[in-house]
Symmetry: C2
Subunit: 348 residues, 2 copies
Amino acid sequence: MTNLNRTIGQLAEDELLARIIPQLPAGRTVIDNGDDAAVLPADDGSVVACTDVMVEDRHFRTAWSTGGDIGWRVAMQNLSDISAMGAAGTQLLIGLVMPPSTTLAWVEDFARGLRQACEAGAFAWGSPVGVAGGDLSGGEKIMVSVTALGSLCGRKPLTRAGARPGDTVAVAGTLGFSAAGLALATAGKIPARLADDWQDLSESGASADQWAQYAWHIYRRPQPPLTAGVSAADVGASAAMDISDGLVRDLGRLARASGVSIELTPPCDLPGLVSIAESLAPSEGKALANSWWHSGGEDHALLATFHSGTELPDGFTAIGRVLQDCEGGALTGIDPEAARGWDHFGQG
Amino acid sequence: MTNLNRTIGQLAEDELLARIIPQLPAGRTVIDNGDDAAVLPADDGSVVACTDVMVEDRHFRTAWSTGGDIGWRVAMQNLSDISAMGAAGTQLLIGLVMPPSTTLAWVEDFARGLRQACEAGAFAWGSPVGVAGGDLSGGEKIMVSVTALGSLCGRKPLTRAGARPGDTVAVAGTLGFSAAGLALATAGKIPARLADDWQDLSESGASADQWAQYAWHIYRRPQPPLTAGVSAADVGASAAMDISDGLVRDLGRLARASGVSIELTPPCDLPGLVSIAESLAPSEGKALANSWWHSGGEDHALLATFHSGTELPDGFTAIGRVLQDCEGGALTGIDPEAARGWDHFGQG
């Protein structure tokens, strides 16, 4: 039996790969990743590609996030970028740098998180998501780079640049919960982990403890609405964008790219976020919750704009509109206090 | 005017990107990298993909390699993997982690090295090679991850698994010079940099100093024979593989993947390598040179097998043959002393 407490410094690279590769789905390949490069199908004559890096003590802490959490999160933030183009993810390529003291158990857990993210993608898109290649190296801190590839399946790509006056601005997925989870941890109030059969609480009543657990889960394992990009493309959305740096900042980017101004209509109440915020700052709960919603990053919700009169696809909520006759790039309807956000609460 | 001694810790990410992106070629794109993901053409319905990570003080030292050298090397080692499939490189995606103390001059030089590698690829393949995406992050050490994408342009991919009894084994590109360059530097005998108009010395007579400069150049800026994979595919090569871990180790992998045995015919003399080796170890020059040739990694030469009687494409030299009636996976004709190699000389 293999001792999972062995460190990778005690294993040959081939031994390590033999533990990891069988855990990972292959997805659709012509030639798989045992050769110098993988050959992957690109049936519609194009491929969608993006890349992201996560560095220990900058983007995550091993005290807060398990290997599985980190594998999930780095895969999901890339799959969310693919989704935002109106595409389905097909393959990931992984670069993993680890200190020699990293245990085999951690690496296997990391691979499990990657696999779970691939499975979630496959479920969302109805087509396999695999790991087409990778490279391992030693280093002083954990560093993970992921390149995600995807397919538009013949669809026209969604960009940030297509929003037009009169369009409805809508969002799918959670906003502010990752920032709330991080704020809880930063305050030393780390909630219990959610049970494996946790349910999305965003539309139901829940106790303060449940909301805190939910936010902590979203921080560690963000739940981007992976089907939303394809759904938006299918009803002719005019623009779309993954929200990774906070709603206000990313909405500003979309407005500038499209050359339009946008009026935001914030929600009347944010019961989950307010409940968490009040546990941290009783007298400022509402303001803090508002700030998370406007400026919290890394939930990886999807922002999209739809021609006026389009029925919004499942999962989208209208949060504003593109203004007529306005100078491009401006945002209105935003509480400046709420929009300062994010940086106040650290970046994990 | 921008002060190039400013550090990236003093620059906003947008400012930094504005300095880097204009230096990089875009290649062929449908949607370029200003959006959540790039959309790239894949005209023949498939895409070739691989990834590699380089970590400071593991794969390079900033005292020995400039930013430009590192950008060149990480791009080239990936483009070489693409070439080994019989494909042409089309796009790179870059993850770059840097300490806040990194200067703007270093980053611009890194981008220049990437661009030069893309230009060398474009020249070799007669089609553009671009940078389709990237991500920047802070960290304690420099870490670069590159994913390379490529196109087979309708060709059948070359794998490691196709060598057949009777085939000729051949190699294109340099062998052992990267290890020789590293050995010089490790011994504290760093040669002068080659002039920009340096010429390939591998077939000509040269002085000991020139050979040392050449080896030092190959260590910092390996020169994989990027056209060789396509040329090999075009004459129906049976297998191909990038040599990154040394000839003997990688030849063993090809033999095992193909289920064949291979007899190696080492060259009679290695004038360049012997000249360098004698400057380091006068009495053991020939043995050391032999060891570099057999076991030195990171020249990124191309190994390929050809059906008996095939005229080898330009740049290839025969170095052995696939044996008839032999158990799979064995190598013969190898001096065991020479094959120990590589690890003795450190891995930079």
